[in-house]
């Protein structure tokens, strides 16, 4: 493969820690195979940096198969790069051409502060989840079998679709308002559609929206960018449902 790979210029956000002021730095990588994933390309860069005694670029990753939501990166102006329906670990280098310059930046949102380089703090999502993204089940030993509850196929499908959200934060990163409404809409919807979620429905949506606002996420203006960049294809209809749920909960 030598000689056939791509030579790329990388412009990467470097920031020592949360307190420091970061800046864009330029790096070159050579002989990158089109079969590599984007994160493998980042590994190549880091090996190179370590070999020359420099600090490797910090970035988040875990499963590297599109299910954990850890990997992030704003690549050439888009969350998870130019491809659709994928996370960065699933992005292939064949989406780029020899000689390209690639911008690599962390998720940007006041509620996602940078920890180091390309790693951001997404615990604001966890605090929103803790505010109501669950159902309380009495595990006394005689818990009812969930399958005994009749649920329409349609509701089950929609709830499942909402539940595929992996909490990656691409929706926030993409949004011109740094709004978390696609994420919160998915988390509210996944329970709102099921009988198990009804009992705590009103408190759930109120508390989760309150926490979302408290964390400093912006207001949705329905640009629809989140839905397009979401690796799991979470639909804007979940935001509409969350809005309805909040209206319902507030009238009660």
């Amino acid at each position: 493969m030598s000689g056939k790979g791509m030579n790329l210029t990388l412009k990467i956000w470097r920031q020592k820690d949360a307190q420091s002021k970061g800046k864009m730095e330029t790096y070159n990588v050579t002989d990158i195979s089109e079969h590599m994933s984007f994160l493998e390309m980042m590994d190549v860069l880091n090996e190179q940096l370590i070999a020359s005694g420099d600090e490797p670029v910090a970035f988040d990753h875990d499963c590297r198969e599109g299910i954990c939501g850890m990997c992030s990166l704003y690549i050439n102006g888009e969350a998870h790069g130019p491809d659709r329906g994928i996370t960065t670990c699933q992005l292939h280098m064949r989406m780029f051409n020899d000689g390209d310059t690639i911008y690599i930046e962390p998720w940007r949102a006041a509620a996602f502060p940078v920890i180091k380089d390309l790693v951001v703090d997404r615990t604001s999502f966890e605090r929103i989840q803790q505010a109501g993204g669950y159902i309380s089940v009495n595990t006394s030993g005689n818990t009812q079998d969930a399958n005994a509850l009749p649920i329409s196929k349609h509701a089950a499908d929609e709830a499942m679709d909402a539940a595929t959200c992996i909490g990656c934060g691409a929706c926030v990163a993409t949004c011109k308002n740094s709004s978390a409404m696609l994420f919160v809409g998915a988390k509210v919807s996944q329970y709102a559609l099921l009988p198990q979620g009804q009992v705590e429905a009103a408190d759930r949506v109120k508390n989760m929206v309150a926490q979302m606002d408290l964390e400093g996420f912006g207001n949705c203006t329905n640009t629809g960018a989140c839905e397009i960049e979401c690796p799991k294809g979470i639909s804007l209809e979940n935001i509409a449902r969350m809005n309805r749920e909040l209206m319902k909960a507030s009238i009660k």
């Binding site: 412009k11 956000w13 864009m24 704003y74 050439n76 102006g77 888009e78 130019p82 911008y103 930046e105 940007r108 949102a109 006041a110 509620a111 502060p113 993409t174 011109k176 308002n177 740094s178 709004s179 409404m181 929206v209 309150a210 979302m212 606002d213 400093g216 996420f217 912006g218 207001n219 949705c220 203006t221 329905n222 640009t223 629809g224 960018a225 397009i228 960049e229 804007l236 209809e237 935001i239 509409a240 449902r241 969350m242 809005n243 309805r244 909040l246 209206m247 507030s250 009238i251």
Partner: protein
């Protein structure tokens, strides 16, 4: 309920409600304006009715004023909050990859409309208030004739004013091309995602501003 309108979603709902009201008002306003092309008398009579009827003047007009002011003040509030929510901006951002220009620039199309509204108030509303409530002349007459139609034609003599109207209404069309379906989504309705309503929204967003433009241009070229 008061907590609701302080939440991010409540603000959106309030924004959408004011927008629906404005979109409804535009239809009425355009209908009256269009009569000026077909019938000078009808236009004069409608204008006189709108300008002197107590229900219109003291019930509908304050509601309208409130609706307009609320909409743009809330627009600014949301814009400022959203700017704060972003924090640091990207070195490279490809907004066109996933959203329309209209959706990303509501504040700018809105600002042009606002500038137009200021001009519009100076042109028509302030003189009306002056004649009717300060000089106390509720007759609607000037030299023995209804004054409305002549005032309208007089205003549209100036090419600069007609140009400003045309630009403002093009921006209104762009504002509505995103805003119309967006308002449904804000209200928690998925109707805005259906093809039929999207088509209706496009037609509305183009026809209404175009109607205002036609009235202005018509009177520019046909005065007597």
């Amino acid at each position: 309920m008061s907590g609701f309108f302080k939440s991010s979603i409540g603000r959106k709902v309030a924004m959408a409600l004011s927008a629906f009201f404005l979109m409804f008002f535009l239809i009425i306003h355009l209908a009256v304006n269009l009569t000026s092309i077909f019938s000078e008398d009808l236009f004069n009579e409608l204008s006189h009715f709108m300008g002197t009827n107590p229900a219109v003047q003291f019930a509908m007009q304050p509601v309208l004023l409130f609706g307009v002011v609320f909409h743009f003040v809330m627009g600014f509030v949301l814009e400022l909050r959203n700017r704060k929510a972003i924090g640091v901006s990207y070195a490279k951002n490809n907004g066109a990859a996933n959203s329309t220009w209209m959706s990303r620039n509501m504040i700018y199309s809105g600002l042009v409309i606002l500038a137009f509204l200021v001009l519009h108030f100076i042109d028509f509303w302030i003189p009306e208030i002056n004649v009717k409530y300060i000089q106390g002349d509720m007759s609607g007459m000037h030299d023995g004739e209804f004054r409305y139609f002549h005032e309208l034609q007089h205003k549209f003599l100036s090419p600069a004013r007609v140009g400003a109207y045309v630009i403002a209404f093009i921006l209104l069309a762009l504002h509505l091309l995103h805003g119309f379906t967006s308002a449904f989504q804000s209200m928690g309705s998925t109707a805005g995602r259906k093809k039929a309503l999207q088509t209706f929204g496009k037609v509305y967003s183009i026809i209404i501003p175009l109607g205002f433009i036609i009235v202005a241009v018509y009177h520019h070229f046909n005065h007597h």
